[in-house]
Amino acid sequence: MKTEPIVGMSVPRKEGREKVTGQARYIDDMALPNMIYGATVRSSLPRGKIQKVAFGPGIAWDDLVVVSAKDIPGKNCIRLIADDQPCLADGVVNHSEEPILLLAHSDRRVLLKAVEAVSIEYQSLPALFSIEESERYAEIIWGTDNTFKTYRVEKGDVESVWAKADYIVEGEYRTGAQEQLYIENNGVIASFDREHGITLWGSMQCPYYVHRALMTLCGLPENKIRVVQTETGGAFGGKEEYPSMIAGHAALLAIKSGRPVKIVYDRMEDMVATTKRHPSRTRHRTAVSRDGKILGGEIEFTVDGGAYTTLSPVVLSRGTIHAGGPYYWPNVRISAKAVATNAPPHGAFRGFGAPQSLFAMERHMDQIAATVGISPAEVRRRNFLKTGQTTTTEQTIREAIDLGKLLDRGLALADYGAKKDRFRKENDSGSRKKGIGIATFLHGAGFTGSGERNLSSEVAVEGCADGSVRVLVSSTEFGQGTKTVLCQIAAEELGLRFEDVEIAQPDTREVPNSGPTVASRTAMVVGKLVQSAARGIQQTLIASGLLRAGYSREDFREACKKYVAERRQFLSWARYQAPTDVFWDDKKYQGEAYSAFAWAVYIAEVTVDLTTYSVTVDDFVALQEVGRVLHPVLARGQITGGVAQGIGFALYEKVVWRNGRMQNGQMTNYIMPTSADLPPIRVYFEELGNVHGAFGAKGIGELPMDGPAPAIVNAMEDALGVRFDSIPLLPEDIFEVMTARSPGQTDSRAKDGVR
């Protein structure tokens, strides 16, 4: 066996060359013969009954394909969890931009005019736009009580802590909606014929989610739907569930027209009509001892799910489980709910509930510190989970993680102590105030609780006729390195070169269902299955006598060639087996929530310019324990990218709502950071290994989303001595908080100005 390592090395990205030469083909780069274009007519009201649909003059309507709810062959829903979201509104709309009609034509320009020529009359109904409005029940807009889902976590005896507390610290923290803003808009091409059924190509994370949704919508069996993922230009969760909707639309038009149909959104449509991060509200009430230890507390965590269930129960779940942070809670009650409003349904976005509840927890820790009179670092140190202790869901931390030591390292890397002192002195004068803030957190990788068992993911590794090996998974590449990492794993397991292993493009006709590409599970969970399946290839060859232990790469290739020549096909399968020492109680929401947690310490240094109320992040330290770094360049890229999105979440990205519709659906007005806005993001890793992950890896895709916002807002409080409990914090928001706090102090430059 060869000894050169592949895992742990920064091998070339499998599809890198195509990407840097412009050869990579994304869905809008593709066309099929006889293809026409589809577009969507959407609701202009947040809630109402459709009274009349009129097709205006100036359009040759006979030349257009028109699809409404009554054209749906199967069930009018986007199959996901609750199946309450219609594919096309049928008489009633529950959010702005809800799809009502589909149109198709061979000329995009005619199509554009046709969409504009449809006029719809509604009877408006009262609509709800916030968590507070929803929970007041002024109007019931979903189910019996506007509530998609609730969870309750109870540990210990919460009622007993109040009497013993030296301090009771309360806080309410809020986060806003955030747009995923992948640079490639949603797009699909669908074709249909009676023999093959539907074939669907598109930008997506989860081909098998789309497959299942299309089966239900089109009333077709499994083998009459084929879904192929095309090169995907960014996703971040925004293409986890949404593609089922756009795919359904294209499929319906393809069925009705008998021609291939392409639907690609432009930026505005994508921003206003598709999913965003769930807005949240978290309330903490914590009993704290004299020396700053958490005795217990109540956490109320609420997310705004928008108009339909979609993934809210799962977002809520993750947010609930992460709500206590990386701390030891001897007693806790977490009450969580996802409520309905008349916004376009909110959905998956990197972090998936955890950035919301961890924002609250990390802000709250600084409040506890301030109340008790100890430093933010010290309050964390005193409360960190230790090996052998249990989390809020009573999961025992078994690994030898030393969070105090991790924190020490982070503080040293950030030069925290010296800077804090220096800033305190420098802030006495001048209009630029500097601060430094900490966030310490964890992120559970893989599906929660029994999730992975329920997914029952399957992978295959194939031995090919030319002696090479092919990985077959439904896990998708969208920049994070799926293809590269899974090939590394297989190559290393087999003792081959990286170039000897390829990976099939996810096509439901060709690859097994390895589960969705979400929840930071791909390298860790799917990777481990790939490792198993690869081992199966090896064992088969050895068992067949074609290969001996200690083989060389050339031996392997020869053996594989021979085997395939004899047997024609050479596939090795692996299916997920839940670890026997991992248990989870879905009813009590207790037990081993995740097979692995990654741990992190993030430290942000900021400058607040009181002339303009703008915040600049000057330095950012991202230190995390990740099990094993499988590919240094890719791993680092995940962290820097996630931190950038976290900075956006805190300081730049605000969805401006009016009447339940996003008003700033353009890149000019929805602001993400440019290269001129971000500091160098300094990334450091530690590796404790992970028995449940391929080569010891833990998932890291979402981890970096959790820390930046609270670290930054903690730094802002450090700089200004002003408390901010809600993000995003644009300069206007900072200005508002600061002037509300001291109305007479509106002249922020008065004392620092001319003397």
Partner: protein, 292 residues
């Protein structure tokens, strides 16, 4: 893309003379398009009402930057990149050079033209306050010949200007009389690059023996047109810069603007920041102790 190219006509007559002839033939019908960084955005959004366009791109008569003894004359078709690269502009008109650096990113600076931005008359355009501060003059051209007007008179209301329906901006003339002036330019946008400004200040001043001899303070994004803060300036001329005059200037400035709430920012924020920027300018002016 929310417009149909088939619905539009675009011609490129290739010379200034041919363009103004066309404009005279059908006044108000042909919309001039230079680098397209404003027009094409409206077009893609389906919001361009004009159906006929005439291209000014690359007209040699509009691209010259000429340095004469008393003024620098910038062809209206000069791009922001060209402004940035031009020695005299960078040296003598730093407010304009700054604005050029802030307008969009490099790609948009390579196409955006000074004339285009002036004619488009967005109150948020970054270079307009600089031109007000420098008291530029515009040379307008039509079949009737050329006329010269004060830029201070050019904007008459929100997106309305002194341009006759058949007229074009040929050049922007900046008087070379600000040597020794202290300059202050600051743009407040949503991020450090590629941002539409929320407040944009361009100011110059000269002091003598501690007294303000001359001061021009211009500001964008806080009214339907870019403004000179005349009252604020009047309150400063002939005075020393001290706490009292600075606070008074701040208050006056905040009263002179007409800031609004919009999708990008709030009136309260814009007003407050306006005051802060005026103070910051005056601090700098005072510290510079510049002499004529």
């Amino acid at each position: 893309m929310r417009s149909d190219p088939e619905d539009y006509e675009l011609v490129a007559p290739g010379s200034l003379r041919a363009v103004v002839s066309l404009l005279a033939e059908e006044p108000g019908v042909w919309l001039p398009i230079a680098g397209g960084t404003d027009v094409m955005v409206q077009y893609a959004a389906g919001k361009l009402t004009a159906r006929k366009l005439v291209s000014l791109w690359n007209l040699p008569e509009l691209r010259r930057i000429e340095v004469a003894e008393n003024e620098v004359s910038i062809g209206a078709g000069s791009t922001y990149s060209e402004l940035r690269a031009h020695d005299a502009v960078a040296r003598e008109f730093p407010l304009l050079a700054s604005a050029a650096r802030w307008t969009g990113g490099v790609a948009n600076q390579n196409r955006g033209t000074l004339g285009g931005n002036i004619a488009n008359a967005s109150p948020a355009a970054d270079s307009l306050p600089a031109l007000l501060a420098y008291e530029a003059e515009l040379i307008l051209v039509s079949v009737r010949g050329e006329r010269r007007i004060d830029y201070l008179e050019f904007h008459t209301g929100y997106k309305t200007t002194q341009l006759a329906p058949d007229e074009l901006i040929r050049a922007v003339c900046l008087p070379r009389r600000f040597a020794g002036y202290f300059s202050y330019a600051r743009k407040v946008g949503a991020r450090n690059a590629q941002a539409i400004s929320k407040v944009c200040v361009a100011a110059i001043g000269r002091t003598h023996g501690g007294w303000v001899e001359d001061v021009h303070i211009a500001i964008g994004s806080v009214a339907p047109v870019p403004l000179r803060l005349w009252e604020t300036e009047r309150g400063l001329k002939g005075k020393t810069i001290d706490l009292e005059s600075v606070l008074r200037a701040r208050k006056t400035a905040r009263g002179e603007i007409r800031a609004i709430d919009d999708v990008r920012s709030t009136a309260a924020y814009r007003e407050h920041v306006t005051g802060n920027l005026v103070v910051e300018f005056l601090e700098g002016l005072s510290a510079s102790g510049s002499k004529a």
